[in-house]
Amino acid sequence: MAYKYYKDNRSFIEACEKTGDAIVVNEEVDWDLEMGAIVRRTCEKKGPAVFFKNIKDYPGFDCVGAPIATYRRLAIALGMDPNSTVPEVSAEYLKRTSDESKALPPKVITNAPCQEVVWTGDDANILNLPSPMVHDGDGGRYIGTWQFVVAKDLDTPFVNWGMYRQMAFDEKTMVGPVLPFSDMGKMWHNKFQPKGIPMPFAVVVNPDPLSAIASCAPAGIAEAEFTSLLMGEPVEVTKCVTCDLLVPAHAEIIIEGVLVPGVTIDEAPFGEYTGYRTSPREPRTVYHVKAITMRKNPIMAMSNMGIPTDEGQLLRSFSLGLEMDKMLRAQGIPITGVYMLPESTHHLVVVGVKPAYANIATQIGQLCFGSKLGPWFHMLVVVDDKTDIYDKDELIHALSTKCHPVNGIRVEKFGVGTPLNPFATPAERRLGAAGKVVFDCTFPLDWSASDVPIKVSFNNVYPKEIQDKVLAKWKTYGFKE
C-alpha cells in the first residue's frame, strides 16, 4: 500500500508553503551569490525553504533552496505531521525500511515529465542552467548540490544513486570528487577508469524528496528499490535519451553524459557540509555532458552547505544513524537506539545500549567504524539504556560524568576518513584517512553495586507515589508548566 508522498519536488514545496515551511520569493535574485546568501541565512536560522521565481539572466527557470533542511520538512516529505518528533520520524523510517524483502523494482514509464524539453548537441550547454555561485570563493558554480548521480556497474546489474557534488567547468564539462570507497567510486576507480572505458551517468537535479532521501541513505539495496520502501510502491522511472540508464520520471532536470577516463580537472574549494571549506583544490573526476532534459518551467535546486543545519547534515545524519541502528540490531547488540546529531555535521553518533557485558562500547565502535558507514563519522558516544539519546542535556551530562578521561576513551589511529574532515592533517586529507574515537559512558560492570553512583534526578530518587503527587499538584503549587 502506498504511503502519502509527493511524486515531484514542486508538489512537495507547495505542501511546505501551506504549512509555512517554504516561502516564495518573487523579487529578482542574482544566481551569483545572492541566492546562496539567502539560502545560507535561512539554514542558519532554521527557517523555511525558499522558492525563487525570478532569477537574473535565466527567465523560465525557478530554483528551490534548502528543500529538506529541517525535521519538519523531512516529516512532510514522509507524509507525516510537520510537528512530529525526531523519534517519531525515525520510527516511521525504520518501520518502512527495515524489511528489505518488500522492496520493489522501479516502474518504467514513457512520456516522462523530466523529458518534456530535450537539449542535445551544442544545445546541451550546462551554462544555460541557473547553477548558483553558492559561496564567495568557491571553485565554480555548483550544478550538483541537491541532486544525485545514476550510474550502472560495468559487470554486474548494480545501479547506484548517490549524491556526488558537481562543479560546472565549461559548457560541456562538470568536475567533482568521486571518493574511492563510495559505491560509484568502486565502479569508476576499480573497473571503468583502469580499462579506459567512459562510464555513462545521469545527474538527477531536483528529484522528488523520497528519491533524494534514498540517494543519501547508505542502505544495503539499490537506492531505486529503497525508494519503493519509502513510497510503499515502485518509483516511476524513464530511460535516458542517450543511454540505457533509468532516471526518476518526475525529476526537474536530467543531465546525461559520460565520465571521462584518463583525464582529471581541478575541482573545489567548496563550502562543505562540515561548515568549512576544507578539501583541497585538486584533480578530480570529469563528467562530459551529452544531453540535458527537463520539465517545462524547470526548477533548479540548491543545498547550501555550511554551518548547521542544511539538508546534507540533516538527511545524512538521519539515514546514517538509522542504518547503523538496523546493523547493530541485526548483530544482536541490545541497543535502545541510535541518534546522529545533525549539529555534529554527521560526525558524532550516540548509541544507547543495555550494558550487558564487558567492553560492549568497544564492540559497537568496531562494528560501526568497520562498516561501510564508518568513513563518514569519527566520534561515537555510547550511553546506557537509561539515557535519552535524543536529549542533548542528558548526553552532555553522561559524557562529562560517566566517561573516564583515560579508561573510557578508545582511540583508533588508522581509520578510513574523507578529504573533508576539517580536523585532519593535510596528509590525512590527501589519503582519506582519519582517527576514530569511542566515548564509553557506561559504568564498568565489575564495580560492586555499592560503588556505582546513583543518578540524582526527579525520576530516579523519589518514590513513585511522591512523583505522582507532585506531578498531579504541579499547577496548584503555582507553576505554569
Binding site: M133, G140, A168, D170, I265, R281
Partner: protein
C-alpha cells in the same frame, strides 16, 4: 582587457611568476557565463600593469589575494578528448 581569476595551492609569495605555464583560468565577465573555466598557456606577472589581462589570485581554500596580477593568454587549451 578582461578580468580573470585563478587558484594557486601555494602561498602567494611562492607563486611562480614571470614564466609561461599552464593554468586553469576563470572568466569573470559579468554575464550568465561568468566563472566559465578554461585551460590556457599563460604568462603571469605580479606587476598589475605588465600584461593586458587583469588576473586575481585565490588561494587553495578560496582566499582572495587583495591586489591583482596581470596575465597574457598565450594559447587556450582543451584537456577533453574528442569523440566522446
Amino acid at each position: 582587457m578582461a578580468t580573470w581569476d585563478t587558484y594557486i595551492n601555494v602561498d602567494f609569495k611562492d607563486m611562480p611568476a614571470e614564466q609561461e605555464r599552464v593554468a586553469i583560468i576563470r572568466d569573470l565577465t559579468p554575464n550568465k557565463y561568468k566563472y566559465r573555466s578554461t585551460y590556457a598557456q599563460v604568462k603571469i606577472s605580479k606587476d598589475a600593469t605588465k600584461y593586458p589581462e587583469q588576473l586575481w589570485i585565490r588561494l587553495g581554500r578560496g582566499q582572495l589575494v587583495p591586489t591583482p596580477c596581470s596575465m597574457e593568454i598565450v594559447e587556450l587549451k582543451s584537456v577533453i578528448p574528442a569523440g566522446l
